[in-house]
């Protein structure tokens, strides 16, 4: 056989082999992590998980206060970050097209997007916790909102920019003002992208631990008032996993399992939503 063809086949085989090994190597750890979480977490799943508070060492309990605290803080973070983020994205995509201010804001937003979350935690500690004099659920929500905000700005900005130019022109060509074209026509066309970004953003903040350590801290007891320190799943997982008690370890695994499944569900819904909308 022609030696050039032989060489090409060998090179092809080696390349294929190497890339397969790389994929398997990456997947191996991912599957191991998920597998451990599922096995240890599922074993620790009990009805008390959602009916009882975090227990003192040695007694039985659940994570109700942590789930509730996380839910409240994430909800508040979404309520703060979504309107601000979407409006900022509208400004960037529609009213700062191609100008310098827009470029600068996008750059700063990208920096915020990749800022270490512990820095954001410390920032909110200075901004909210110190003036108030104590840790609080509000501070936790602000920290999460600051992490969510750049994600929303980025994805909504991109979603709006993906709306075909002629659709923007067609709206304006009817004599409608730019804000009305944006609100009714462009936002509708960009909804899929914006919602997808929001879901992925929520997935991102639901596992954040560092910013909550400095802001919401934790709470062993039931606390429905966000002005007080609030329990939350990531910090409970952190503290319980570091403890010497087996019952706390089990709760930490259960918490980790629930967060993982929640993030997975968000990811899948984002995909389904995107798929359904874009094939409509």
């Amino acid at each position: 056989m022609n030696p050039i063809i032989v060489r090409r086949r060998v090179a092809n085989g080696i390349a294929l082999c190497l890339s397969t090994i790389a994929t398997v190597f990456g997947l191996f750890w991912l599957v191991w992590i998920l597998w451990t979480t599922v096995v240890k977490g599922a074993a620790a799943l009990k009805p008390q998980l959602v009916t009882q508070m975090t227990p003192p060492p040695g007694s039985d309990g659940g994570l109700l206060n942590a789930f509730y605290g996380s839910f409240i803080m994430i909800t508040m973070a979404v309520a703060i970050a979504t309107p601000v983020g979407v409006l900022a994205a509208i400004y960037l995509a529609e009213f700062a097209r191609g100008n310098r201010v827009g470029t600068v804001i996008r750059f700063v937003n990208d920096i915020l997007l990749s800022a270490p979350s512990i820095v954001i935690g410390l920032f909110v500690y200075e901004l909210v916790v110190r003036p108030l004099g104590h840790f609080s659920g509000y501070a936790g929500a602000v920290a999460l909102a600051l992490i969510l905000l750049p994600v929303i700005v980025r994805t909504s900005d991109e979603a709006l920019q993906l709306v075909p130019g002629p659709m923007r022109e067609a709206g304006l060509a009817l004599g409608l003002p730019h804000w009305k074209v944006t609100r009714t026509i462009l936002m509708r066309a960009a909804t899929t992208g914006i919602v997808t970004g929001l879901l992925l953003g929520i997935a991102r903040i639901s596992g954040e631990t560092a910013p909550l350590l400095f802001t919401a801290l934790n709470n062993q007891y039931w606390s429905a008032n966000p002005i007080t320190p609030m329990a939350n799943v990531p910090v409970v997982i952190f503290q319980y996993a570091m403890s010497p008690y087996d019952s706390w370890h089990a709760l930490a695994w259960a918490g980790a399992f629930v967060v993982t499944v929640f993030v997975l569900i968000l990811g899948i819904s984002a995909r389904l939503f995107f798929k359904q909308e874009s094939t409509r």
């Binding site: 100008n99 075909p164 067609a170 009817l174 004599g175």
Partner: protein
């Protein structure tokens, strides 16, 4: 309106647009220059668009025909780097003036684009949306107006049973006629069409062309096309552009049969383009 160059397809003397009295022109373009940043896309264009006839703007790709069209409703002002100098008079009023209200201008000068751009709304809402911006109408009257616009665009019979459905489900030709209906619903005086049929199949194209000839009695229609047969079929007035300049404007038999300029002759006989 006494059009000097209508009804003379038999070959009477065709008059150049510029020879005619001012009153006959709906739109007068005077010494228009257009810039995409530093690039000059229109060079000292002066041309009159006769009232109530279809005008076709023809010319090779990149000659500035779409650019000329886009200045007439100032849609270019969406882009900060684009600007025009000179004058465009719509019924004698300069629309390039700073004082001109572009919203009001675009309500008078509607535009349909090459690619159909249905909004992500129902068929009904696509038409009613802009209408509601201008007029507060009771529901029933709104429905009447939507029906009228869809009938004018020859789309009513195809969509009357599914007005509530998404406009995105329509075929390409239907979407384009929906865009025309949407524009007609706000009762413009001028209708600008930028290669409206270039993405359509022959049957849809025929429907749109038939529609245009019906519309010319009520609207001033200006169509950009690179299809010479189309220009010959639908237009009474033809404007030939080349490399950003207006080369020749006249009745279609002037342009296609007895062009005055060598370049026009070369283009319409297919020597370049």
């Amino acid at each position: 309106m006494n059009d000097l160059n209508t009804g003379e397809l038999g070959g009477a003397v065709a008059l150049k647009a510029s020879d005619k009295p001012v009153a006959d022109a709906k739109i007068q373009v005077k010494n228009l220059d257009f810039f995409y940043g530093k690039q000059r896309a229109l060079k000292d264009v002066t041309v009159d668009f006769d009232a109530n006839v279809i005008t076709a703007i023809i010319g090779p790709s990149g000659c500035g025909k779409s650019t000329l069209l886009r200045t007439i409703n100032r849609i270019y002002s969406l882009y900060p780097a684009q600007f025009a100098t000179g004058e465009i008079l719509l019924d004698g009023e300069n629309i390039l003036a700073k004082s001109c209200d572009v919203g009001a201008l675009r309500a008078r000068v509607g535009m349909v684009f090459q690619k159909a751009t249905p909004f992500v709304l129902s068929i009904f809402e696509n038409v009613a949306f802009a209408l509601r911006h201008y007029e507060r109408l009771p529901r029933s009257e709104q429905a009447d107006r939507v029906e009228k616009a869809l009938r004018q665009a020859a789309l009513w019979d195809e969509v009357k049973d599914k007005l509530g459905q998404s406009a995105l489900a329509l075929s390409g030709g239907q979407q384009q006629r929906l865009c025309i209906a949407r524009t007609l619903a706000v009762s413009p005086e001028v209708l600008l069409l930028d290669e409206p049929t270039s993405a359509l199949d022959p049957i849809s194209t025929a429907k749109v062309e038939e529609l245009l000839s019906q519309l010319q009695t009520h609207y001033k229609v200006i169509i950009v096309t690179h299809n010479l047969q189309q220009a010959a079929r639908v237009a009474k007035q033809v404007v030939f552009m080349f490399e950003g300049e207006m080369i020749e404007s006249g009745s279609h038999e002037q342009i296609f049969v007895r062009p005055r300029e060598q370049k026009t002759s070369d283009y319409v006989t297919g020597r370049f383009g």
